[in-house]
Symmetry: C2
């Protein structure tokens, strides 16, 4: 029997986090311990090193995943360990897991097998409380907003035009659309509202894109929350609570340090989903890594159509980051799914279907090429892969001239990615022509169309009447010079989660836009994508338990 | 100008928490640090000392307070420091502040002046995350319950008879009554719901009354969440998620150690409000103190009608605790309010009104006498008190034979309560006849009537039709042998918050009952009391700010 991720993680004899930090030159004065194995890293460390040259930045992305994920975090962790093994001073920057999917389908999310970050249980539960701080800040805005309306509504807020929603770090579909303020007058003003999952909150995006505590405060103040009855925008700062919000997030803004199973330093900070948000860890964490290490390996959520596009068009643009190379993770399982093999048959050998599914991989490679970056395909090996399938995929890469490496980090840890690491060192030394895909000064329609046609391979984009009206308003208000954060299913390149492979001649439907003025982008919701997930028939929570000694089971 | 509480707290040069812990004999192996000044204390420490004799337990309670509070926490902290000053090995056990009132009216809640616990900012914000863990556990139940209904409702849950509510650590009146599951079928089943403030969640009560992690898990499983269409009870364990819930709370169950401004050890753990919940810190924290220290000073929320009654009838009964003495805190300000002086005139000298208001103090003294415990009145000195008022109050106590001490801990720290400490040492050596007020085997009506008549001074109790039906059902289900947790306004001995002093001939109206089967008591809601507060016209959040260096203002 294979050991579970949790069992492997629990067997790890962790080093004290101060010793892990020391490896990368971080002193105790810059650490605030949360137990022996977690620490907040001071922002001052980054500020003191601001003028130092950045190390190389490697992005790990993937093809469109199966529901189990492609092993992007696993590859990121294993690659970081491998780079350290070959003598390169390397740090890893990851996103914080959300509790929603932990209790839902996925269980934990901190890598897998022998390529994990630890303490896995803590990282997957409350960690250092960042998610809770974000939830609190988000909901303090709602409470103050509804209180303002209840207490006389001096700002003349139109209760039918409140754009700010509450949030919860939970998969809870019944909270998507609710009516609040029911009952007697003392219960406040009745109106429609809804909850997003915390990782989709603009507060999360703001945390991830801020460059200092004061920048955070300013961005929080600039968030749009409603319109008044004259259709003029109302911001958080109109409620006068941006100071309180920044205070609530004073610790959350500091990156969190943990270690890999091989005791290499990792920063985990910020965790927006890539399907409904911008999908990258914080700029502060990535920048801290870049200043301290020669190589930084980071990931962006889901496939290159979502996470990588937003990493390259939003995060790198805002953070002034210059990536050196991209790893595109693919599994034979997922390629077979893109070759239209049914979920229950994915374990069976099917070379033909796999090769057909390579068109999905090819499209993501094309995307990275459009961004002007060197790339390598990492085949994340699964126990069910057959030698014939692996060989066929290796040949496909060779035939098409795509650099490729077989990654065995799940089974072997860093040792399983030595070849990948060596190839990446070479790729990082190549000059590259990285540039974002579009200019922010293009129209909203053009920017969305650029992403849909160039990255998704869509034929065209259709805007709903609501979206058209919103664009008109944003143009009037001058909110049209920002990047776009697409919200789209992760299962397909299209906005229909049933279309595998590399669909053609399809239309992307933009249903609604949401201006994130604090984050600095406009969210475009496509297809049926929702910003609050639901739980499956049997939630992962049903398999979780803890015994008297505090030993946990069921958190995969 | 007086310094604010926050300014005084920020001037304190804290000791490392391991040094504070060492004073009371706690070794590093039993501590898990959250930064340098906060630590979780292992439950194993208590279990290893289980057979040791308990130290003396001193409860600090108060008269019915003004909106500013009577300074119960302040007195508790100052008294603990004073006992340490006179050479008594003393620990303090307090409740964790809720964020709701922090952003609302009150600002911080960790003592005041020179009798505070630190780090004040952390304690008042996210602290070690216990509140967030409770919120998460509470809402995971709701998400799984609604998901169960949505996925086919195998348990046949009556959607019009769901008793479990969601919660948030926020003052947010618009969430009191909501409708969820609006919109298309994919958004789940539509029904009425509401949010309690987290401190009123049964999960909080369960945390505070649990004696081990396994006891916690069992209690969480036993919580009532709904009835099925045959009117049979459905429990958390029917959803099969008590293991996940206990896992979510694995750290929250461990008491938190901090220090007073005078560097004495304090455990802060669990924070139910005393008006809408049982109002006491955790049994685990109090027991840990009793095993390690010769004197433990603890508080129970609001006046003796609420916190002390529940401390003596619920917490001590369940925890097998034997209190030694009670401190009843009174301020001259509040006594004047009970003598019907208007809020804006409380700063003016008014000996006559103050003496009239002493009937409120007399009633609380009577309550403590009924419980068979020695007591002392602590006059918590305010800058606005006049010599004539202080003297008149001292004389009133003397005339009526009530032990009394002038407490100046706000201005002087422990030095300001040396006399109080010395008198308490003597009181603790007196034998006492402590016993709960009622037998749990009495009827629900009789138990409620006992509290209402003996503690509140009510003439009688009226039960609403809904409450009567509930009692009938609970009798059938065998849920009638538990203590009662009254929910009542803290402003008055009656259930009408405008009735000051010691009202007579009034009726207590029991509107609704809520069985807390995991906690092990029945909540009785009286008058207009609500389990979700609202924000005031200008929330405290509006005055809060943080600067670039992380310096906070406005968190009083």
């Amino acid at each position: 029997m294979f050991k579970t991720d949790l069992e492997i993680a629990q067997e790890c004899k962790m080093e004290h986090i101060k010793d892990v930090a020391a490896k990368i030159g971080i002193e105790e004065k810059d650490l605030e311990y949360y137990g022996n194995y977690k620490a907040k890293v001071s922002l001052d460390l980054l500020h003191r090193n601001e003028n130092k040259e950045d190390g190389k930045l490697i992005l790990v992305t993937a093809i469109n995943p199966t529901k189990a994920g492609e092993g992007k975090s696993t590859t990121t962790v294993g690659l970081g360990d491998a780079l350290n093994r070959i003598g390169k001073k390397t740090m890893i920057a990851l996103r914080e897991p959300s509790l929603g999917p932990v209790f839902g389908l996925k269980g934990g999310a901190a890598g897998g097998g022998y390529a994990q970050v630890v303490p896995m249980e803590d990282i997957n539960l409350h960690f250092t409380g960042d998610m809770h701080a974000i939830t609190t800040a988000n909901n303090l805005i709602s409470a103050c907003l509804d209180n303002h309306i209840h207490q006389g509504n001096a700002l003349d807020i139109d209760i039918n035009h409140v754009t700010w929603k509450r949030c919860m770090d939970m998969n809870d579909r019944t909270l998507r659309r609710i009516e609040i303020g029911k009952g007697p007058k003392a219960n406040g003003v009745e109106r429609e509202d809804g909850f997003n999952i915390t990782v989709a909150s603009e507060v999360m995006a703001v945390l991830c894109l801020s460059t200092s505590l004061m920048d955070l405060k300013e961005r929080l103040g600039n968030m749009l929350i409603a319109y008044n009855t004259k259709n003029e925008p109302i911001y958080v700062k109109d409620l006068g609570i941006e100071g309180a919000l920044a205070m609530v997030m004073k610790d959350a803004i500091k990156p969190n340090m943990v270690q890999t199973l091989e005791h290499n330093p990792v920063l985990i900070h910020g965790g927006p989903f890539a399907n409904i948000a911008h999908g990258c860890n914080s700029i502060l964490a990535t920048k801290t890594c870049l200043k301290l290490a020669d190589y930084t390996v980071t990931e962006a959520g889901f496939g290159a159509d979502l996470g990588a596009e937003k990493f390259l068009d939003i995060k790198c643009r805002f953070g002034g980051l210059k990536p050196s190379a991209v790893v595109i993770v693919a599994t034979i399982r997922a390629l077979k799914q893109h070759g239209n093999v049914a979920l229950e048959d994915l374990k069976e050998e099917n070379v033909e279907a796999m090769l057909a599914g390579c068109e999905n991989l090819a499209k993501h490679i094309d995307t990275i090429q459009q961004f002007g970056l060197p790339y390598i395909v990492a085949i994340n090996e699964f126990a069910t892969d057959t030698p014939a399938e692996v060989e066929a995929l290796q040949n496909w890469c060779k035939e098409h001239g795509h650099p490729m490496s077989l990654s065995q980090v799940w089974a072997k840890g860093g040792e399983g990615a030595i070849d990948l690491a060596n190839q990446l060192v070479e790729l990082c030394d190549q000059p590259n022509t990285y540039a974002p895909l579009y200019d922010v000064n293009e129209t909203i329609e053009d920017k969305i169309t650029a992403i849909a046609t160039k990255v998704y391979g869509a034929a065209n984009v259709e805007f709903s009447d609501e979206a058209k009206e919103q664009i008109k308003l944003y143009n009037e208000l001058g909110w049209n010079k920002m990047p776009i954060c697409m919200a789209k299913t992760q299962m397909s390149l299209s906005d229909n989660d049933k279309l595998y492979g590399a669909p053609k001649d399809f239309t992307i439907t933009v249903r609604e836009l949401r201006p994130s003025l604090g984050a600095g982008f406009i969210v475009a919701l496509t297809g049926k994508i929702l910003t609050m997930p639901g739980l499956p028939k049997t939630p992962a929570a049903n398999n979780m338990d803890i015994n008297e000694e505090g030993h946990i089971v069921g958190l995969f």
